[in-house]
Amino acid sequence: MTIVRAFRSLLVTFAVLLGTAPAFAVVEFQEITSPGGVDAWLVEDYSVPIITIRFAFEGGATQDPIGKEGLSDLITALFDEGAGDLDSEAFQIRLDDAGAEMAFASDLDAVYGSMRLLADQRDEALGLLKLAIQQPRFDQNPIDRMRAQLVSGLRAAARNPQTAAQKMWAQAIYGDHPYARPREGTPESLAAVTAEDLRAFHRAVFARERLHVGIVGAINAEDAERALDDLFGALPEKPDLQPVPDAALNLGQDLAVEYPLPQTSIYMAFPGMERTDPQFFAAYLMTHILGGDSLLSRLNQEVREKRGLSYGVGANLLNLKHADALVIGTSTNAERAGETLGVIKDVVARMAAEGPTPEELALAKKYLIGSYALNELSSSSAIANTIVGLQLRGLGADYINERSAMLQAVEMEDVRAAAAQLLGTKPTTMLLGPKAEPTP
């Protein structure tokens, strides 16, 4: 999905009302555009002399060439391993002296970068970030070293039954969609990656059109705009991404990985709800009531609080760029795994048939409205994360203000419909543990 920005040249400020008291208007999101046309959201804050910048280029592991899976993981380990005329060691010493922390990471859908720096060493730190973004060297020595570390990581996990379970899960759910490929690659696929492959990935993905940026901290709009041009202005306008189809989830399967463990892990995948679907918030509220991060959730009440079957059970809405699912997961006493699965199924069936109570819905609304600021805006890093996350999902800065009203507007009928729609389908279920048997 492309991000439409209506206010390209305007400086629009959204004041987020935190909590319920209108007297507080603290976190102000400014939409800024650099002279060179790079967009970002900025939150100015001078209470601590630091600046946090975070950005994402769309196109993550799904852009790994066939047979070179893990490339997007490897490339993120190489941005502090030499750039411009600085080799690995020179770059890292300069970065350390500049008092900055730089990190890169990738997931299925994007490559992320971030830097946390001290305001009084801004120019030196951002200069290094610019080099890393624009002129990574991909020297053979660091490539070989980081590849060897990743392969060691794969070896370390290879015999863990969790690894086999994850692989089976991804392949069963996603079939021949790119999401089923191993995101971290295999020793063989990592061995196939060359410096030229890394350069090609960098050229294809590091472009301005699908770039999302958040800047938070001790920097004003003018300086932030200048930094945007400096960091990103020289990148090509358009990325060269392989198209990725939306995934059709294969649900209704019963899977098992048998392993002698003291606990059985249970995973269930139901249909999800697209982030932009008008019914998303109904599904979101329903999922929270079912298995949100609270001991009051229906699943935690029945599985943990009343029966002591588990340390915790959760339900989450998963929203990837090309797939959506509602996922339930827990670990339980292996000898009572059948009982636990039965309790979960009962709770799910009751929610699908009846929906929540009015009290539950009212409480979930209060929690999800009130907790947003506490969870998403509590530090510079959290704010920068939130900014990039919203942009990746195609949401505008005004979303933060509209979100409360959208949650408030959800009717009981919507929630019941969402429950029936998502939970009325037979899920794909996987048990990992001793004598795990698919239940009929």
Binding site: Q92, Q149, S152, L295, G308, S331, L363, G370
Partner: protein
Amino acid sequence: MIFRDLLALTLSFVLAMPTLAQEPPPQTEIASWTMDNGLEVVVIPDRRAPIVTHMVWYKVGSADDLPGKSGNAHFLEHLMFKGTAKHPASELDRVVNELGGNHNAFTTSDVTAYMQTIPPEALGTMMDFEADRMIGLVLTPEIVGAERDVVIEERRQRTDNNPQGLLGEELTATLYQNHPYGIPTIGWMHEVEQLNWEDAMAFYKRFYAPNNAVLVVAGDVDPETVRTLAEASYGRVPRGADLPPRIRPSEPKQDTARTVTLTDQRVGLPSFSRNWIVPNYRTAEPGEAEALDLLSEILGGGTRSRFYQEIVVKTGIAAGAGAGYAGGAYDPSAFTVYGAPQGEHTIADVEAAVDRELERLIRDGITERELESAKMRFVRSLIFARDQQASMANIYGSMLATGRTLQDIEEWPDRIRAVTPEQVQAVAAKYLDPSIAVTSYLLPAEQEEE
């Protein structure tokens, strides 16, 4: 999981100090006082967002469990959510949920802490709840039974279900020959299964009182408001009986090198760790704990460390190697070095390489340059820590609840700056004696190739 725990402790200590005077911070001053009933109070104003972190730290942890009752301190932490006469079970959950807040609790060897993150207008309500359950807990046998099952599942999930968890527990039990740090916080399974109402209540009545606790409030609030609200809530809780000095069984002189090995089918890559019990900040001679912190950073604190540069980058022997120091513990605790081999190299190669680096440092010392860089990284992490009010609350709470003072916190940056290369070399020579190290090995089981 000794690795994770040690690293977490070290990290929380590295993050442990406020307000480094690089630039004068526009941050309000930290306020502190002690209430008439003995409750220590610390307020860390942070006005950036309308959020408050409210924490009560009890100066008691699993190392204070009675012999044979391991897991009791942690079990009580769970039971503290089961309600009082005034507020039945789940009411706190509901109220915090309505506020959009978060709440949780944790137990370590030394402390038990309860916290809520809430909008500032709810601070008084949270204080009412927390003051109420400081002495008002009501438990029934049925509740206790189900919660014990939850804790058993927690133990299985964290420890029994993975080889790293099991080995960490055995390593700790071997490292400490007399001190209760050798006993896992969550408890040995056979003792967890026996946890009961009587023992939990006895522990509660003995240790939960205002004069054995620290109240930490960080966030969008001023000290005077905190004082007023605290007087109206905690101020009504009577002072408890004086507790005897907090003296746990101490370690005898250690004379042997010991080895703990776990071989498991699930392990794909071998790894080792080498551990010593060394002085901590509270008890060390002046400068030694600071030097141990810097030693840990220089040896194994990241990509600029000696282990990483020499063993991972230059020789390619290790896939990873590092060091950790748990100087923030109440009693002397562990210094750890660890590593795992790369490619065709063996665990013995990594061990030899780590030992060589230790010997080299003890023999030749460190450079001014690497000491300065390590100090800078500490200072920087303190400034970054100020971005998160929860980390500030954790820093102050954990230190004040383990026998340190505000003055210790204030002076720490200068003490770090004062450390010399010779001091770092000296603590390495004095404490990292291979003949009394405890080494753990996590090894793959032999298995047929598929």
